[in-house]
């Protein structure tokens, strides 16, 4: 697990509660994961992504301004290898298909919060 000690996570969600939940979940899991940054909208997400270059991005889909998929598209256009997990309260098949096309690694429901650390370890790139 030591090889994953540098896995930084960028949390993108417009709901402060959800960012706090993800942050607490990641910090409590504490196994090679750390929160590299938090953003409340797409514009800030791209900005922070460029600055922090996290190993993995957890993206909410429904946000004011750009949607999670639009942010993912922008990031993947710049860096196709970026690991991204779409984390949304509501996932319809169209969103899942589009995410797969773009190269998003996984789509998770917000009801599966306890499985987030597991997914982060799974999809984070090897150092």
């Amino acid at each position: 697990m030591g090889s994953k000690s540098a896995t930084g996570v960028l949390i993108v969600d417009d709901e402060e509660d959800m960012r706090a939940l993800l942050r607490s979940t990641i910090e409590i899991a504490n196994q090679g994961l750390h929160v590299a940054g938090e953003a409340a909208d797409g514009e800030d997400a791209v900005k922070q992504w460029r600055e922090t270059r996290p190993e993995i991005v957890v993206l909410d889909q429904r946000m004011p301004g750009a949607t999670g998929l639009e942010v993912a598209e922008q990031i993947l256009a710049e860096h196709p290898e970026q690991a991204i997990i779409l984390f949304s309260a509501y996932l319809d098949p169209d969103i899942v298909d589009r995410a797969a096309q773009l190269g998003v690694r996984a789509c998770m429901s917000k009801r599966e919060i306890s499985r987030v650390p597991e997914a982060l370890w799974k999809y984070a790139p090897e150092p």
């Binding site: 509660d17 959800m18 607490s24 979940t25 301004g65 309260a89 917000k110």
Partner: protein, 638 residues
Amino acid sequence: MAATIGRGLGAPIYLGRVTGLLDGAVADDSASLARVAGPLPSNGVVGTIALAKVDGTRVVVTAEVPAASPALAVGTDLAAMPANRVAFDLARDDGTPSLADAQRSATGETSALIAYPQYGSPSIPATTEDRRGKVQGYLVALVTPRPVVELSLTGEALKTTGITITDGPQQLYASPAAMASSARRSLVQRSVPLANHTWTVTAWAGPGAVPSHPPWWAIVLAVLAFLASGVGLTAILRSASRESRAREQERAEEVRLIADAGPLLQQSLDLGELLPDFAVQLAAQFELDRLGVAVANDDGELVDTFSIGPAPGPRRLVRQVGPTTDEVEPGDDFVIPLQRTGRTVGALRARSRRLLERPQLASLRAVSDLLAAALGNAQLYQREQETVRRLRDLDRMKLSFLSTVSHELRTAVAAIEGFGSLLVEHWPTLADEQRREFIDRIARNAGSLKRLVDDLLDFARLERHALTVSPRLVSLSDMVRQTVEQFASLLEQHHLALNIKPDVIAFTDPDAVERILGNFLSNAAKYAPPDTAITVTVEPSGSRALLAVSDQGPGIPAEERTRIFTRFYRSETEATHRTRGAGIGLAIVKEFADRLNASVAVDTAEGGGARFVALFPTEPGMLAETEMSGRAVPDLVE
């Protein structure tokens, strides 16, 4: 006698027939005229006919039948004689035959020139100005009374019958017996209208006449009268026939216009596109110098939607045209109601430059019927489109509402579930501070969930008309104080300021007030940035009790202040996009307020935020305040 009558009739019919055959044209040579004219009447009433062309002020004979007749010789300027000049001018201006004063020729024959104007076309130009401009020449004839009398009577009768034909004071004919005798027995007199003149034929029994019953000279008089009047009558008849043909042609054009326009009008659902072109054609066809279409609005008032030509003067009398209207004078403003199934859907307003008679009015009413049907169709289509648009909007808002509500519910549930799981699974290892934070977050999301569910339940009640209130006299001050405490967790990121005057009484329902205040506070908490003030005010306002929640957020744009109280409506502002909400909270507030005879509105708070205001009645039976802005809350309105 019948033969006499027959001969007599032949002459006047003849003249009319010639002018009819000419079709308004002026032939240039005598041979052509002779072909058209055929044999002249045998009774000699018309000894010569000719065609004369207008050449400046001159009217010069260009063709004559019989050829080389001295009275109307080719090249003669007939207008040189003042009496003829008057007749030509009258004929030209009126478009009808005109008779000149009789004149005595060098041979001693008294004749009068009759002129039939020729305009170069079968129809007579409509206006005097047009007629003056378009006249090309005249068919002219010399009407001579003597041969008619002398050829109609036997020599014996002529000797014993005094006969005179006079035109006013001028004597045109006197029989030999008339000249010889002054005694007038069994005198009979007839007036004979002849074009624009009236000739008088007088006959009496002269010396040696044998009285009979009926007196034979009376019969002669009748013949003469018939004969003479026939000149004018037939001319009028022929002229009428010519006009009738022109009218038929006009009618055909009118019918064609209506037939062409009918399907277009009935099929078109966009009258704005079709009407101008159609109106121009209609105005040209009926010589309308003004044409407008007014459409009834929802209140039944006629509103001008389209018009060409000058507007009617404010005091002009406008005549309503219906099935019994015989005619409309030139220059009169008139209106034809556009009716559909007994309902007035609009009006056609117009003014014509010419006389409109029954046929034209019938055509215009037919056009009005078409227009009414077209207007009805267009209005129905427009209403249908509006309904479709409204339903689409509603559908879109409902879809958006469902999506938003499900997102709100899932987010709140996910937060509660997530923080709950963290507490359950990691309780022993969590610091107290973390436990407290997680529990607070669970409580806050549970509160959001509760409000959302309350809104949904209220909304469901509203949908099935089961949202009821039980107003009573309560202390608004106390109730608001207690309710605000319940929302403490919602407002913990803001500075709550209470400006609650004591003992403000309202006639209202406490549960409804809680829902109204809850929505106001929830909105303020959502939109106002953290660490800004949210002020709750309770105070008397005139005869009402005022409850207001002011924030220091972005405020509500003026154009959205009414719409935000509509179901499913969510403002298009950036601030709204950043916040959660299903778009039903304020709609429910409005419904509660309506049931309580209270008023709700939003205006601008000091500092530019939003100020939501509710004004409650203070006693039973008070009606809702209808004008909040500028009256009940004057100090804070922009």
